[in-house]
Each structure stands twice: as structure tokens, then as C-alpha cells.
Symmetry: C2
Subunit: 340 residues, 2 copies
């Protein structure tokens, strides 16, 4: 135990022995095989397959509070990047993790975040193979920010993308919407809301593989993070050049989340999720995709919410419970800052 | 021009149209091919070569000030990650870039940083293929932090690593030491130092390829960032289990940097560099490596500074100008925070 400090000091960012102790004890002892060089060197038979492509993505995480019911910033940082890879059709393989840490941050908090990351990475079947830490003075950042990048492999012949969606394709989500956003909102405390909600944060790589095995013609998927379902559907409609119609009655919403949205004037269609995705599959593969989702714990609440249509290209419309229809626009501004 | 704002607002981080406008106009318009999905999909013949390995690394950047003589945070973010890949023996190919931006940051500043990144990436022969932006409220971060991750390819049969250094190997650096650290120190302004110094910040991928072509037996390289030459040599000595001897008289130092160090009680051996590396090559390849370095602009000031020795394993010693010897330890604490 070289590390006796309880809190991070500027010396832990200075490139010397204090930094080495922090990195070795708190980070690499949990993440990395011993003796690894700065740049991880990795070989994968999957990458050498003719026609395989490498997928590469990154996401920064600045959520507040850092720990909340159902997860913490570390869980978000692993799941968020795994999900970005998964919805692109890639099998997630490796992650990097870079931390910006405020002077004075409790070492015990860092250890909890790192432990979560290691656990989530293992569950998702990815390895955290390289990382970095920077320390900034008090007040120069808000405790801890984490940025992950991810590398995965898209198997030969697998082509997914929003532009491939066409009229008749069916849209499915894997569970109730908005739990993450509502949980963060309640966890901030300033609304004096007391709920039993937990974040939906989950890695969706295994779910996507199951969907793709059952529905090999799947056209496109999106994880429903900032901007929620509404933003994801609008992006897909714009890229595909077709319309999307969803049914209000089909949307899976927890009564508690709908209630909170009603009180606060929020729209659950825009609430952030961290373990939810929408996937578009050809109509004749929809039932198979639905069954494959429901067979997995992170897809138990899966359902069909609508379809792509030839009408109103680029626009998302919702048939309301009263039989009317309304346009579901993209979010314009900011519903809730620092949700992830 | 959808983006009329002069400063970043929280709405620019919210997942809606304001965020899309910021990302499209300021970031992807400069970085990415149009129509790219969230996760970049890349194919490289180099990755499919039998025996090739993928190299993967990440680094966060929190330098202050954000702009300084010879560079800015964007230049650091590209060169730093390119250099991590290069010193591992990899050919850098692709970068990701994730930004955490404080509410109120000038859009013009972001545009300058992004322009620098695009320019440096092109010069280094890498592509910035994926990214992310997060916006936090005033006071929750210090203007802009950038985290890059990098993917490269290690050609079949190329094996580099600090543990491979053995007695008799010769150590070379590619130019004068400490310009970056001294420049940042002066740029902070609170020392009322006026200098003509510029950061040494540079991408070293092409230099490393030239060294490896001239000295194919090269054992290990390290970029001399936080903790400077002293920390890099100590890491190598520890990993290799041999001693390292350097000569004070051989160390390339600018008079201005030595002078500033003397006034401030700093040791140039620990000053940060962002365009300098040390490489260990077998003795009979040292002259070839030196010539290869000097033939490139970023290696014009290259010189031999010492060698690995069988004596005092794990320890770095310096023969002083007066004929004595002193131990060069690893830096213990913090010489200068937020240097990169």
C-alpha cells in the first residue's frame, strides 16, 4: 500500500511517483494486465477476417450526481461506449478510460467508480486496456469526468445504418422509457422527489447480438441517450428519408415516470435512457426480434412501438391515445443538463 | 449558418437541435466525412496482415492556458496521442476526440482548437473519425478539456518495449529538452517572465518510422511528457532491470530554459516536453538512428545522451559536468500542474 492519501492532490497528476502510485493502486491494479505499455497492443482473429471492419467511438461522461440509484459515472462510461458500438452492429472488444479528477476528490470514490467499471466491462465482455488520469486544482472541474473510447469489430457482410431504414420496417424498443433521466432528476434532490426508480443503465452488446441473430436483416439501431427516443427517431427519419409513425399507447412507460413528467412539464419522449435502444427490422423479422429481446433480462420489457412509413418523409408522428396525431420534433434546447 | 451564438450554452449539450448545430458546424464539418454514424467504421489492409497487432491508447488534456506560443490544447491532444502510439512502435491511423466544454466558452475559441486539430492530424497522417461533446455549467470545468484516443497498427514482427532494453544500448533524444514546460510556465503570466520560447509540441509518428527504418533493432521509446526525461528513463531502467547512464554535458538544453530553471529552482530533467522522445537502440545502430532523426525537422536537434549499463540496475545516473555522478530519481510530487 504505497497510497496512504485519502484524497487526490495535485501531486497525483504530476508525472512522478505519487501519480504512479495512484494509477497502479487505484486503476491498473483493477483494469490492466501487469506490465502493459502505455499503448495497449491487441490482436484479434476477428479483425483479420476478410471484410471485417473496425468500429471506433468515444463518449465523455459528466453526470451529476456521480452516484445514483442503479449506477454511477463508471457504469455509464462503460455501458455508454459499449452501446455506441453495439448499435452500429459492432461486437465491442476493448475500451480506454481517461479520468479528469479534481484535487480533493476522495480516493474511496475513485475506487468505487473503478470497481463498477471493471464489473460492467466483464459483464459486457469487453476489456479496459488503456487509460489516463489528469488532476486539476480545486474548482477546475466538478469532481470526476470520465471519457471512454471503444473499439469493436463489425463482422463481414453486416451493414447497419439509419439510411437503410425503409417504409414497412418495424421499430422496437427493449423496455420502459426514461428511467435514467427521471432517476437522475430525482437524485439531484432539489425537487424533493422521492422515488423507487433506478437508472436503466445497462450494456446492450449481448442484446444486439441476440437481435441480429434472430433478425439478420436489421437495418439500424440507436441507443436512446441525450434527447431520448424522440431525437433518435428524428435522426433516423432524416437519414432514411422516410417517415416514422409511433403509437402513444404502445410506448412502454412506467406510471411513476409519466407522473413525474406530468408534474414537471417534461415529455418522456425526450428523457434520457442509458440502457435502451430502438431497432428497425424488416416487418417479417419483427416477431423474431421481439422474442430475442424478451429472452434477455435487459430486453424483458421489449415491445413494438411503430414503423417506418412512406408518408411525411423525415418526420416523426405519434398517434395519440385519443385517436389524433402529433408531430414529434427533435428537442430544441436542453431538457436536463449533465444527464450522462 | 444555423449557429448564431457566440458562446456555448447548456442547450448545446442537451441532445437536441442546438447540440446538433454546434457539432455539425464546429466539429464534424472540419473533422468527419459526411453521413458518418456515431461509431466510425474503418477498414485497413494493415490490420488484416497476419501478425499485425492493433495499438490503442488514450490521453486527457487539461492544459492552462489553452493557447500558448507554439500550440494550443488541440495540438497537444492530437500530437500527444499520436506520440503514444508512435513510441509503442505503432503506425498511428485514427483518433477520437471528446470535448468537455464550460457554458460560456467562446465558439470562436472552439473553432480555433478544432482547426488546429484538423491541421495537425493531417500533418501526422491520421484521421479524426469520431467524437463527442458535453457541456457543463459555469464553474464546473475550466473552459475546455479534450480527451483523444488513438488506434494504430504495429506491423508484424515489430516488438518494442522498455523491458527489451539491455546493457550497451544507446539512448538518443530528438532535440532540446523542456521547451514545452518552460513555455507553459512563462505563458501563465504570474511569473512575469518574458521569453521567446515556443512549445516543442509536435507529432512524432513520421520520426519514429524513420528511426525504425534506420535502426530496425530499436528496443524501446518513450515520449517525454509529464515528469520529463528523468521519469521516462526511470521507467525504462525499472522495466529493463538494467542501469542507465547519461551525461550532463550531452543533454541538449537551450540556454533560456536552463536559465529559467536556475532562477525558479526547477530541474530541466523533469520539465515536460510534447514533441520529444527518447529511444534506445543497439550500439551498432546508434549512428544510423541519429542520422535518420537529424534528417527530419522534428529531429534536427537529435543527439546521443547516454546508454544502458549493467551496473546499478533500475537506477539512472548522470555524469555531471564536473566529473562527478548523481542519481537521477523519479519525480516525487508535482513540478508544474496542468502542463498538458
Amino acid at each position: 500500500m504505497a497510497l496512504r492519501d485519502e484524497r487526490v492532490t495535485l501531486a497525483h497528476g504530476g508525472g512522478g511517483t505519487a501519480m504512479r502510485d495512484l494509477i497502479e493502486e487505484v486503476f491498473t491494479a483493477v483494469f490492466e494486465p501487469p506490465g502493459m505499455e502505455d499503448a495497449a497492443q491487441l490482436s484479434a482473429a476477428a479483425l483479420a477476417e476478410p471484410g471485417a471492419r473496425l468500429a471506433f467511438t468515444t463518449d465523455g461522461f459528466v453526470v451529476t450526481p456521480l452516484e445514483f440509484p442503479g449506477g454511477d459515472i463508471g457504469k455509464l462510461a462503460v455501458c455508454g461506449t459499449v452501446n455506441d458500438l453495439a448499435v452500429s452492429g459492432a461486437r465491442p472488444l476493448w475500451l480506454s478510460a481517461a479520468f479528469v479528477i479534481e484535487e480533493g476528490t476522495e480516493i474511496a470514490l475513485l475506487r468505487r467508480i473503478v470497481a463498477t467499471m471493471a464489473r460492467e466491462a466483464e459483464a459486457a465482455g469487453v476489456r479496459i486496456v488503456t487509460g489516463d488520469t489528469k488532476v486539476v486544482g480545486r474548482g477546475a472541474c466538478d469532481t470526476v469526468f470520465v471519457t471512454t473510447a471503444g473499439v469493436g469489430v463489425v463482422p463481414p457482410g453486416r451493414e447497419m445504418g439509419a439510411a437503410r431504414v425503409r417504409p414497412g420496417d418495424v421499430a422496437l424498443v427493449n423496455g420502459v422509457l426514461g428511467d435514467h433521466g427521471a432517476t437522475i432528476l430525482a437524485a439531484r434532490g432539489d425537487l424533493a422527489l422521492s422515488t423507487a426508480l433506478e437508472s436503466d443503465c445497462a450494456a446492450l452488446g449481448h442484446l444486439m447480438e441476440a437481435v441480429l441473430a434472430a433478425a439478420p436483416g436489421a437495418r439500424a439501431a440507436r441507443d436512446l441517450t441525450r434527447g431520448g427516443l424522440a431525437s433518435a427517431l428524428n435522426e433516423i427519419a432524416a437519414a432514411a428519408g422516410c417517415g416514422i409513425e409511433i403509437s402513444e399507447e404502445a410506448l412502454p412507460l412506467r406510471a411513476e415516470v409519466s407522473g413525474m413528467c406530468e408534474i414537471l412539464g417534461l415529455d418522456p419522449l425526450y428523457l434520457a435512457n442509458e440502457g435502451r435502444l430502438v431497432v428497425f427490422v424488416p416487418g417479417d423479422e419483427a416477431e423474431a426480434a421481439l422474442s430475442a429481446m424478451r429472452a434477455r433480462p435487459e430486453g424483458q420489457g421489449a415491445c413494438i412501438i411503430g414503423a417506418a412509413v412512406a408518408a411525411h418523409p423525415g418526420q416523426v408522428r405519434m398517434r395519440t391515445a385519443f385517436g389524433g396525431a402529433r408531430i414529434v420534433d427533435m428537442l430544441v434546447g436542453e431538457q436536463l443538463p449533465r444527464i450522462c
